[in-house]
């Protein structure tokens, strides 16, 4: 987690606007309420034939006149939104600061900040009533809880009011800031191997036979082989010229296929966290990796190396949303034929709830790819509220287990109980 956080350079995220507000005085609902009350009191005085008591409305009328007296037709303010960064791990608490200043005295300014839907207000408030002296700068703070996704702050609403809030003019000004909630990342072991016979942690040998440093096997000498690879001891033992075979140090390409079907909405965040964690693992291993985000419009990122590529993929994962895509099998088949690198290691992240998602796994296996499936179990994300629900969940779990057993021939399937950390689920399956 720390590693990801420090990898982002500190970049104070600010947006500033100087605004001149000008507008016609508009009575607020409060003013209408007061005026109606005045009217009713006047009518009541006439009704009871005590019209001389009409002067009881004097305090209210004077309040209205004072409000008008204090109202300015035009004001100028500077507004700035300050965020410490623009990328945060989901679940981070972030302090947002709105800095408001004015070149003139403003007796009543209501400021309301835009709060994107996916963000939760933890402390503070997002609307304030201010009195600004000439040249005074006020910092308005509140704390939000960041969720995964792209969250856009689009506006700040400035409402200039008299001190009692009886008249106003209100403008919503564009002030754009962006917060990206990146998926939380945990340390996970590498759940795949190039040959499927050994689970490795660290550098991965490639199945491609060629020059390298790792001894692989002995075979008969073939014309064209360099003399230095002849194994003289084996030649003497067998009577035939034998040469050594080595494994190449070239690492495999890993392709992450993320099933973004709405059926898996319950565990979608877990799915994305798992993809991000495995990507960080691949980055640390120095493995090249690509991403297929199987949304309604599929997103394909070609395999590549390095941190920049990693952050690009993480940005896409941050924005991923479950949708009504039911074409994953077609998308996978098309990309296997046209874009997937041969002999790549596929990591398929799917709750395997739809027929399409299961067909996609069959297609991957039928093309000869090694597939590791990380399948968060949606039934472990539900807390049963009654005995009936508990029984229903048990039945669904049994049906899922039977289904996964049937699918086991297509690859290694990690059935992830989301109440446990991913690394425990991986370790249980691959025996680390």
């Amino acid at each position: 987690m720390q590693q990801l956080h420090t990898a982002f350079p500190y970049n104070p995220h600010r947006r500033e606007r100087e605004v001149e507000l000008e507008g016609r005085m508009v009575p607020t609902g409060k003013a209408w309420g007061l005026l109606v009350t005045v009217w009713i009191i006047v009518m009541t005085a006439f009704l009871f034939v005590r019209w001389s008591l009409v002067y009881l409305t004097l305090p209210m009328l004077l309040l209205l006149f004072t409000a008008v007296f204090f109202f300015k037709p035009r004001i100028r303010v500077d507004v700035e939104r300050i965020l410490p960064h623009n990328r945060f791990l989901e679940g981070t608490e972030v302090e947002v600061v709105l800095r408001v200043s004015s070149e003139e005295r403003i007796i009543g300014l209501r400021v309301r900040d835009d709060l994107p839907e996916g963000l939760k207000l933890l402390s503070g408030r997002r609307d304030w009533l201010l009195l600004l002296s000439k040249g005074e700068v006020k910092e308005l703070k509140y704390t939000i809880l960041v969720k995964r996704g792209v969250h856009e702050f689009n506006w700040v609403e400035l409402s200039y009011r008299d001190p009692f809030g009886l008249f106003h003019f209100t403008r919503r000004i564009d002030l754009y800031s962006e917060v990206i909630g990146v998926p939380a990342i945990e340390e996970v072991p590498t759940p795949y191997s190039t040959r499927g016979t050994k689970i490795t942690v660290g550098a991965l040998p490639s199945p491609r036979v060629g020059e390298g440093v790792e001894f692989h096997a002995i075979r008969e000498y073939q014309p064209g082989d360099p003399l230095k690879i002849i194994n003289w001891k084996a030649t003497a033992r067998t009577g035939k010229i034998m040469s050594n075979e080595y494994e190449s140090e070239r690492k495999v390409d890993v392709v992450f296929v993320v099933d973004a079907s709405y059926r898996g909405e319950l565990v979608f965040d877990h799915l994305i966290r798992a993809a991000a964690s495995l990507m960080l693992n691949a980055l640390n291993d120095g493995t090249s990796f690509g991403l297929l985000l199987a949304e309604d419009v599929p997103l394909w990122v070609r395999p590549d190396y390095g941190k920049r590529h990693f952050f690009k993929c993480i940005d896409f994962l941050s924005t991923a949303k479950p949708d009504r895509n039911n074409m994953i099998a077609y998308q996978v088949e098309h990309l296997i034929r046209s874009h997937f690198p041969p002999r790549a290691q596929l990591v398929y992240l799917s709750p395997l709830l739809t027929e399409e998602s299961r067909k996609a796994l069959e297609i991957m296996a039928s093309f000869g790819y090694n597939v590791v499936v990380i399948s968060p179990n949606p039934y472990t994300a539900v807390e049963p509220k009654s005995r009936e629900e508990e029984l229903a969940l048990r039945l669904l779990n049994l049906a899922r287990k039977a289904l996964l057993r049937k699918m086991a021939s297509h690859g290694i399937i990690v059935d992830w109980d989301v109440r446990k950390p991913l690394k425990v689920a991986v370790a249980e399956v691959v025996g680390l």
């Binding site: 007061l34 309040l63 204090f70 009692f164």
Partner: protein, 140 residues
């Protein structure tokens, strides 16, 4: 439990009910409305109207009547400022605006001594016309 809002309006509410209790203990039935006025402005307006209705019905005016109406208005307005955590200066402006009532009322009382009744009716009618014009100006 820490309350996250101010309650300056309680001062005005307390003063209002001290004044009303002197009139009749029955006025204390308005206390629940007064307490609700601390939270909702509309309840503040109902309090203001109820108090005014009581005063008009019982022909209670003068400085005392204006004092009661002013305190009812101050309760409703100060509660609004409390809810919005308004700057302290806003309370002063509010108090100033309401206190202006008394010099104007004194002026009206003094000038009424020199005017015959018919003209006083004329002034009242003029007062209503001004109120109408003011409403129209604001609405436009």
């Amino acid at each position: 439990m820490k309350l996250k809002r101010r309650f300056y309006s309680l001062i005005f509410l307390a003063l209002l009910f001290i004044l009303l209790a002197e009139l009749s203990p029955w006025t204390l039935v308005l206390l629940p409305v007064g307490l609700l006025a601390l939270q909702w402005y509309s309840m503040g307006l109902i309090l203001l109207f109820s108090v005014s209705l009581y005063l008009i019905y019982h022909r209670i005016g003068g400085i005392y009547g204006l004092g009661v109406v002013s305190l009812a208005l101050l309760t409703a307005e100060a509660a609004y400022l409390d809810r919005n955590e308004a700057p302290k200066e806003h309370y002063l402006v509010l108090l100033g605006a309401v206190l202006l009532t008394y010099p104007i009322y004194t002026l009206m009382v003094l000038s009424a001594g020199f005017t015959p009744r018919l003209e006083a009716t004329g002034i009242a009618a003029l007062f209503l016309v001004v109120l109408y014009l003011f409403l129209k100006l604001v609405a436009d």
